[in-house]
Symmetry: C2
Subunit: 294 residues, 2 copies
């Protein structure tokens, strides 16, 4: 049995006339005769009583018609739904974002994304890099905004923009009087984020620290870290997008003597079929942040 056969069945039941039903189906009358006979043979029962003036469904046929209509309707629903899903730039896109980026970047890009890709429904998910990659691998995310490069043929990624690091100092800190701060000076009383944040390692590396800091306070989030710096517990490096939040917290920002920063990338599974949507999102974000490093 076939969806086509069911369409023929419905057409014949509706028209009560082989010729007209065949025309409605876009086939010839003999074809309809043959196909319907086959369907009757397959089902093992007479579906229509052929009269001289009319072709009338048998009672058995009448009881099948509802199901036939149901099957055809479901099939049509699939076709319709597929047509609406076909546009790669439409539908839900689950986008992971690391915590040191999300609160500062997302407000900047939501409006441009909505304007450029109105049919794309972006669903953000904030977590640390390793968690995001696991979710990507489990198909629980479609793409992620990260600050680390990643290798392996299973991943694909695009660089979006460079985000410089700035020295963050309490207002009464001796270095706050300088125009420019060197990493070595900053490193003496630097505070960093807790384990798992990629910014932690990147900040340590930028300052020349190699191992972990013993006994140093560690903040669980960037806002907390900024508050600790503002309260005079030490210094830190902040990514440039968080500059506004840092200043609001009462922190003094200074450029680094040796420029340092991180590259924000968007990453996805290499086999992800809707990579076109990801690339479109990448284009919008890169466009919005163009020239940001300067």
């Amino acid at each position: 049995m076939n969806l086509r056969d069911l369409r023929y069945l419905l057409a014949l039941a509706e028209h009560g006339h082989f010729g007209l039903a065949a025309e409605a189906c876009g086939i010839s009358q003999p074809t309809l005769s043959v196909q319907l006979r086959k369907l009757e043979d397959e089902l093992g029962l007479a579906l229509f009583e052929r009269g001289n003036k009319a072709v009338i469904p048998t009672e058995a046929c009448a009881r099948l018609l509802g199901h036939a209509r149901g099957a055809v309707a479901e099939a049509d629903a699939i076709l319709t739904l597929a047509r609406s899903l076909r546009a790669p730039l439409a539908g839900r896109l689950r986008l992971g974002v690391i915590p040191t980026l999300a609160p500062y970047l997302l407000p900047l890009i939501f409006a441009p994304l909505r304007e450029a890709l109105p049919a794309l429904d972006i669903e953000p998910w904030e977590d640390q890099t390793s968690a995001l990659l696991e979710r990507l691998q489990r198909h629980e995310l479609d793409a992620a905004l990260l600050a680390t490069g990643l290798g392996g043929a299973e991943w694909q990624s695009l660089a979006l923009f460079e985000e410089p690091f700035l020295a963050a100092l309490p207002p009464d800190h001796p270095l706050a009087a300088r125009e420019v701060v060197s990493q070595a000076e900053l490193a003496r009383d630097i505070l960093v984020l807790a384990d798992g944040h990629c910014l932690r390692e990147q900040a340590l590396e930028a300052c020349g620290h190699r191992g972990a800091l013993g006994g140093t306070l560690r903040a669980a989030s960037l806002p907390t870290l900024l508050n600790m710096v503002a309260a005079g517990y030490g210094t830190t490096l902040v990514p440039a997008l968080a500059a506004g939040a840092a200043q609001d917290a009462g922190i003094v920002l200074r450029p680094l003597a040796e420029q340092a920063g991180r590259t924000i990338r968007i990453a996805w599974r290499a086999r992800f079929p809707r990579h076109a949507a990801v690339e479109a999102v990448a284009g919008v974000i890169a466009g919005r942040l163009r020239g940001f490093a300067a």
Copy 2:
């Protein structure tokens, strides 16, 4: 798109593995690969993300799966329903019966029919011959029990049994003393049914009357006619199956000098596909009434 394709789709979504899904569908793995690729091409979207360890439905696919399940379920319902409808001796059979027969015959045959054809659901409909034939023609009845022969290639019929006529007399009627009553004597004060009842014409013909009776009382139904005879308004002919009812009404019955009666037949449209059911019913009725005329 095809029901088969949808079954493949569901199997692959369930197993997440081309080889296993193909085996479940009873086809080879390459066939499943090809067919699924075709379905993806037709729908214009990727349905599965092929990984090295697993084949995972895309979100678009997940939204289609429900409809696919629906379509397949409806198709299966058609197959199941067809299997149960296939038995020709099952299901509803709408059986017309003329009014001068129904109340006397039906009580006799219901039990044997239920026993012999338990799956057949007989739905009686009482009306006069012409109305029954119209309903048959409109497919509102499947068969009818009639007392008249009927010609034309569009009809088919089987004789079931002969039903003799008996002379029906008021207890105090002069003829009630006879052992046998001749039609000519009976005809002098005969009462007949109203127009439309086939028994009216048959009774008149049996008594030698050719035209209509002027000014004679006409009963709308056989029970009424029997009551009129019992009350002494005149005589009549009753079909033998109504003998019990006539005697209950206080009527004296006598055999006719020249045997007369009517043939009860079952009739159906020549093209009716379930004629096997009608013929089975005919067999049961004929068997129950065998030897009735004697």
